[in-house]
Symmetry: C2
Subunit: 429 residues, 2 copies
């Protein structure tokens, strides 16, 4: 099989035209679900599917699938599927999502040109609104395809102007019928940019000893679990001049202890038990937030993740313990809730082995790593065997016009994807 | 001299009608400078001045003064003046400002009725926009009267809709001519609510041993100095899931250390050298402030106050030292500025003695304390001898509909003011 690096690049660069923005930091794109830029990206994708002889379908929530059913395949066999998403965050990068969509398509084209004879059909998929910037918190299309949310629920979601997903998809001509069902797939692969520096550093370490070695391709072992906690600390707003130090119940001073307690707890877990654990107080708002008023209340958002659910529980307990201590020692009142909790998602052993094998056969190094970010594959894994591959991200940057993956690394990762897909589809290479 | 508690209460309650708001927590008022509510409050005040036979003048920035020049006085002698302000914060209380204005007027009426024969004229003054909620940062009218700002500068100030003070005052009929000149006064007194609990606690402590003892009246020794610092901490915004703990430069975690360092430094100064010192991180804003993003930057506002300028300097240095340490230990970048700095303002010894003497003669306990809040008297003190008296605030609450001072305490404090004013004006009681 020959992956055509130039053809892959041409697709990603063409896709980068839709919603393109020029910034001082580089070229990015803004492609929110159901916008005109999204329509153009989808139409270009459907055209490329048809060019490759794939039959394209659009489901009720706008998920697009193009299926190749070669003569060698049993048309009634469960297909293997691969893909990602074409939407972006505002001022996002050009690789996050499109790499996985067009690498899947390039894998099919490469299999066709190599004359492979897979036993199963192969589907190339684009999910709706992975980034969750308009209608949802993200992973929208895949949640419907995996049966974790009904199409009706998804279609009724509204953006901040009251426009429903239903109306927005109808508007751009991508409100189809039926629902793409991930449970009907025999296997699912997604290639995505890593959004971290582990592959880049692994490549740099080897370059130092072996000339010409590129970055390895990542094979994800587990997608992190994610908990979001909402915390409120209430003290007493008071005059910053007339309230002596000893008579204050300063909500921000208490919140500062909480932020540092959460950080220290995560560092402890990393050192003692699970090096992949992270905990972040990402948002913090103060009331009344005036320089000359002792803060009366603070609201915070906490993000806790790990591949081990146990260490996530440890971190959540540490956060609650910190609040209990602050109530006793500083006299504040606290509230704690955990509105979002998703356990870690292990990837399919069978498909991970297929990916490593594909790397070996192509002479490409593959390494195991976890994913600290959420991906559509989290949902798909609840419906069928699923795997997630990573291409390196320069400096780990994503969701930013500075996001970059070298074209050579894009092609290298696509070669691993193509081999694994062919393997899973039962094609002898 | 007989201070008429009912007449004083009637004035304060009538004034409370202007801009009145009913809330769950009590009755408050919203009287911003140059609004219709402010016009009504000013017109009522001018009527009361005239009722008492005082000639009322309005200066270019809307400061109102009513002067009593009795036959006993040399009309060319420097007058003694007393007053405060009639504007409020949004949803403020009914005592903050009006107590000082109407207590000054009641003092004059009491002196008249007692047949006192002062050697100097006595002026009752209302300054424009003490609270600084529309055109300025506060203390606006007094800054002009003290020569710390020109009338032209003040009149050109705009609210957030682009309306100038000049236009707003013209609109309500209080854009006068000339400038009230505090340097022409022989002395100045302001009675204000304490906005703290020291008088209340002193009263409660004595009630326990002496039946029927009310709260004492406060005689301010020094008005606190005030420094405002602006601090920025820059880390690196990053994906909360994909960025390991060891690879973060979390601006909020660094800012949390700063908040606690500032608090600890103030507690040290209070314990070791100056118990009146306070330091507050009152405002804090995070960017991008999303639960799933490691904070990239934090901006903070710091308020530092004390009656000893040396300890204010110590606290500012401690804040800078904290930032230096955070740069070295956490790799953040920091910025520090000190856009506002006012040294402590000692009150006139002569007038403080007059206040204590007035208390003794009326059988009212007076206690020395400092003011942690800023007042118009800060500006007046740069132009002439000035004194500040405090009436107790229930639970220390102000700038809030819950603000309250018992009517008996209002009258008691007014008796001290009346005695001190008469003393300073050279009247034999």
């Amino acid at each position: 099989m020959h992956v055509d690096a130039d053809r892959l690049r041409a697709d990603i660069e063409s896709n980068a035209e839709f919603g393109a923005i020029e910034t001082d930091e580089g070229r990015g794109r803004t492609v929110l679900a159901g916008t005109d830029a999204n329509r153009r990206a989808r139409e270009y994708f459907v055209d490329r599917l048809r060019d490759a002889g794939l039959s394209a379908t659009v489901d009720a929530v706008g998920n697009v699938a193009g299926t190749w059913t070669p003569a060698s395949a049993d048309p009634s066999a469960a297909p293997v599927a691969a893909g990602s998403h074409l939407d972006s965050v505002p001022e996002g990068g050009v690789f996050d999502g499109p790499l996985g969509v067009y690498a899947a398509l390039e894998s099919v084209r490469a299999a066709q040109e190599a004359g492979l004879e897979p036993e199963r059909p192969i589907s190339v998929v684009c999910f709706t609104e992975e980034e969750g910037q308009r209608f949802s918190n993200g992973l929208l299309g895949s949640s419907v395809a995996a049966g974790d949310r009904t199409a009706e629920e998804a279609l009724a979601l509204e953006d901040d102007k009251g426009v429903t997903l239903d109306a927005a998809l109808s508007d751009i001509g991508f409100r189809g019928e039926g629902v793409l069902d991930a449970a009907e797939w025999d296997a699912w692969f997604e290639l995505h940019v890593e959004q971290d520096t582990r592959l880049e550093r692994a490549g740099a370490a080897e370059s130092a000893s072996v000339a010409g070695t590129d970055c390895p391709v990542g094979v994800v072992t587990t997608i992190t679990g994610i908990t979001h906690c909402e915390v409120t600390i209430r003290g007493e707003a008071n005059h910053a001049g007339a309230t002596p130090m000893g008579e204050r119940t300063d909500a921000l001073a208490a919140a500062s202890e909480f932020v540092l307690d959460v950080e220290a707890a995560a560092e402890d877990v990393v050192r003692d038990s699970s090096e992949t654990a992270v905990a972040t107080v990402g948002s913090l708002s103060v009331r009344p937030n005036a320089t000359n008023v002792v803060p009366g209340a603070v609201e915070m958002g906490v993000d806790v993740r790990d591949v081990a659910y146990e260490s996530m529980q440890t971190l959540v307990e540490a956060a609650r313990a910190s609040l209990g201590l602050l109530e006793r020692e500083r006299g504040v009142e606290t509230e704690f809730s955990r509105p979002f909790d998703l356990e870690p998602t292990p990837m399919s052993e069978r498909l991970r082995r297929a990916a490593h094998r594909a790397g070996e056969e192509a002479g490409i190094e593959t390494v195991d790593l976890h994913s600290g970010a959420a991906h559509d594959t989290m949902h798909v894994a609840s419906a069928t065997d699923a795997a997630l591959l990573f291409a390196p991200s320069r400096d780990g940057i994503s969701h930013n016009p500075r996001e970059w993956t070298d074209w050579g690394d894009c092609a290298t990762a696509t070669r691993v994807l193509a081999g694994a897909l062919a393997d899973a589809a039962g094609a002898v290479q």
